[in-house]
């Protein structure tokens, strides 16, 4: 009996990305395994780690969420250089609700997600009409200016920030809240971008005139995407606030802008899984390299340049391609 090699995914994908023809459990496994990795990896593995690494995984998940939100904005052609805007606003909204009115995290986090998303959308709405470069400029400028605003007007606790906020009841609640959010964002956004709604978003980033001439209100569509991205970022901020029991100026710090950006680019943009992967590579790495201090940011900067210029594909796309190229032996009569 003669044998030849054949790609495993042959026959599974018929012509296009979204039509599958499954004929066996093996093929089902082939599709399910990569999707199960993030779920199992997050939900099952984290509780087994030491408390120190659990904390790192939590902060990694926060960055992953910001990176996923960044990727969503990119899909509509918006490059954000200021994810810290979303983080900071979400954190201040949740912090203020908890500090001044004593709301429990159960309410502050959802409210901060919606209100924070809305506020950020309103702030950035005028820029949506302009070329992408303006969006980048304004998102870079706004968090730093808001930081100065808090500093100058001494509102919301000024330089001290709002301290003594309600923490999560225990570590496991925190882990599951953030990781379920990450998974929900990951699979939710993947689904969204594969739908016709997502197709329009990609169309806008490609060629907005064409979308406009098809009778679609491009700005309204972009604003919706912006709201979704900002809301996810604000959620991360609200979560971080209750985790640290503190809302303050560090929420607008550059870390929350550069880390998600680097994670998304290193991991590979456009898939949401890439940014997640990127965050889980970069954040633990930076934990290990903690001794290097400021040099870490130098590395992120260089990573960003190298990946943007030389490896724009990102790690995730590379892995995905290799996975699709897996071969098996089939018999030939």
């Amino acid at each position: 009996m003669e044998k030849r090699k054949e790609r495993i995914d042959r026959g599974i994908k018929a012509r296009s990305e979204d039509i599958f023809a499954l004929t066996s459990y093996r093929e089902m496994l082939y599709l399910l395994v990569p999707r199960a990795v993030p779920v199992v990896g997050l939900l099952a593995v984290t509780p087994l780690l030491s408390p120190y690494w659990q904390e790192i995984f939590i902060s990694t998940s926060v960055y992953a969420l910001l990176a996923i939100s960044w990727d969503l904005l990119l899909s509509a052609g918006l490059i954000s250089l200021g994810q810290s805007l979303f983080y900071g606003i979400g954190s201040y909204v949740a912090g203020a609700l908890n500090y001044y009115w004593g709301w429990s995290p159960l309410f502050t986090i959802p409210v901060a997600t919606i209100v924070g998303g809305g506020l950020c959308t309103l702030l950035l709405l005028p820029v949506l009409r302009l070329r992408g470069i303006y969006f980048a400029m304004v998102t870079l400028v706004l968090p730093i200016m808001l930081l100065r605003l808090v500093e100058a007007t001494r509102i919301l606790g000024g330089t001290e920030g709002l301290t003594g906020l309600t923490p999560f009841p225990n570590q496991f609640t925190a882990i599951y809240v953030i990781q379920l959010a990450v998974l929900a964002a990951l699979f939710g956004f993947r689904r969204l971008m594969n739908s016709d709604y997502g197709l329009i978003a990609k169309g806008i980033s490609d060629n907005d005139l064409s979308v406009m001439s098809a009778g679609i209100n491009v700005y309204w569509h972009k604003a919706q995407i912006l709201f979704l991205g900002a809301a996810v970022g604000s959620f991360a901020g609200a979560f971080g606030t209750h985790l640290d029991m503190f809302a303050g100026m560090p929420g607008f710090a550059l870390d929350y802008s550069i880390m998600p950006l680097a994670a998304a680019v290193v991991g590979g943009t456009g898939t949401f899984a890439g940014p997640l992967l990127g965050a889980f590579i970069l954040v633990p790495l930076s934990e290990i390299l903690r001794a290097l201090g400021a040099l870490r940011i130098v590395f992120y900067g260089l990573f960003l340049v190298i990946f943007v210029v030389a490896l724009p594909e990102g790690i995730f796309h590379y892995c995905q391609r290799k996975y699709h190229q897996f071969e098996r032996w089939v018999s030939v009569k």
Binding site: I79, L130, Y134, V298, G301, L304, V305
Partner: protein, 290 residues
């Protein structure tokens, strides 16, 4: 008080114009938004300091070396990084942003933090205008800002490179058919923009200390001026500098210095709601792309 505010407001406006003009020049010509602009600014400042204090070179040599050094960095950035992602606006932004971040944080890592990092003023002493003392450095800043603007105006209208700059800015493809090498001009525009950042650093930094945070502030200020004035428009940059400069000085003198940054924020917010593309931009949001 009022005379002082007027004079200091003018100086402040000159500083803003100096900071923004290089960023705007590069963008206006090659369409590259150089987010490493602030990094090049502090790089030039530190370069002068290092050359003077560790090698003991005369001041003038250091200044020339620093301006040339900044220009070289600009050239290198263009030929090593930007040329590979030219035309992909998103990639250009991220690459220059990452580079700037790396340069600035490298200075922080090597512990360039403290009050000893200062540059000398050109001329000591101060001048009495009316009843206000203005130090010579501030007067020089204003003069250099005006001189530089005039120089750039004449340069782009009467020199060969300047005319090529304008040709590329107006229509890259047509310029290509006339034998203008758009890559060379792009690289030169980067170099010129960076050299202007160095000039700004050398002139403005003697007023304070050289700090890594200053790099971020410079980028933010340059961006604020460009957003308000309209990216790519020189008249817009000057108008926005005067507007923000005076507004900052007035708030600083009458409300307190910590309200200063708020002015730019309000200016940006106002401009974005009223005329998103900036006060003086010739950009027609849609039409110029059909």
């Amino acid at each position: 008080m009022l005379l002082g505010t007027l004079i200091y407001g003018f100086v402040n406006s000159s500083i803003l114009a100096l900071l923004a003009i290089g960023f705007n020049l590069t963008f206006g010509i090659s369409g590259v938004a150089n987010f490493a602009y602030g990094a090049i600014y502090i790089f030039s400042g530190f370069l002068v300091w290092i050359l003077m204090n560790t090698l003991g070179l005369p001041y003038l040599v250091c200044v020339v070396a620093s301006i040339l050094g900044a220009g070289m960095i600009g050239l290198l950035m263009y030929y090593v990084v930007i040329i590979r992602v030219k035309g992909l606006a998103l990639s250009e932004v991220m690459a220059t942003f990452g580079l700037g971040l790396a340069i600035m944080e490298l200075f922080r890592y090597f512990d360039f933090v403290g009050f000893k990092y200062t540059l000398p003023v050109f001329v000591d002493g101060s001048l009495l205008i009316g009843d206000v003392y203005v130090d010579y450095q501030r007067i020089i800043i204003a003069l250099i800002a005006m001189g530089l603007t005039l120089f750039l105006y004449l340069f782009t209208r009467h020199s060969r490179i300047g005319l090529a700059f304008r040709a590329i800015a107006q229509d890259e493809r047509t310029a290509l058919t006339f034998g203008i090498d758009s890559d060379r001009i792009g690289a030169l525009s980067m170099a010129f923009g960076s050299a202007l950042a160095a000039v700004a650093a050398i002139v403005v930094l003697p007023l304070g200390t050289i700090a890594v945070e200053g790099g971020y502030d410079v980028l933010i200020n340059a961006l604020a001026v460009c957003i308000v004035g309209g990216l790519g428009s020189t008249v817009g940059i000057l108008a926005a500098s005067v507007l923000i400069g005076y507004a900052q000085t007035f708030t600083s003198n009458y409300l307190g210095p910590h309200w200063m940054m708020l002015v730019s924020l309000i200016a940006i917010a106002a401009v974005l709601t009223i005329k998103p593309s900036g006060l003086f931009s010739h950009q027609k949001a849609l039409e110029d792309r059909i």
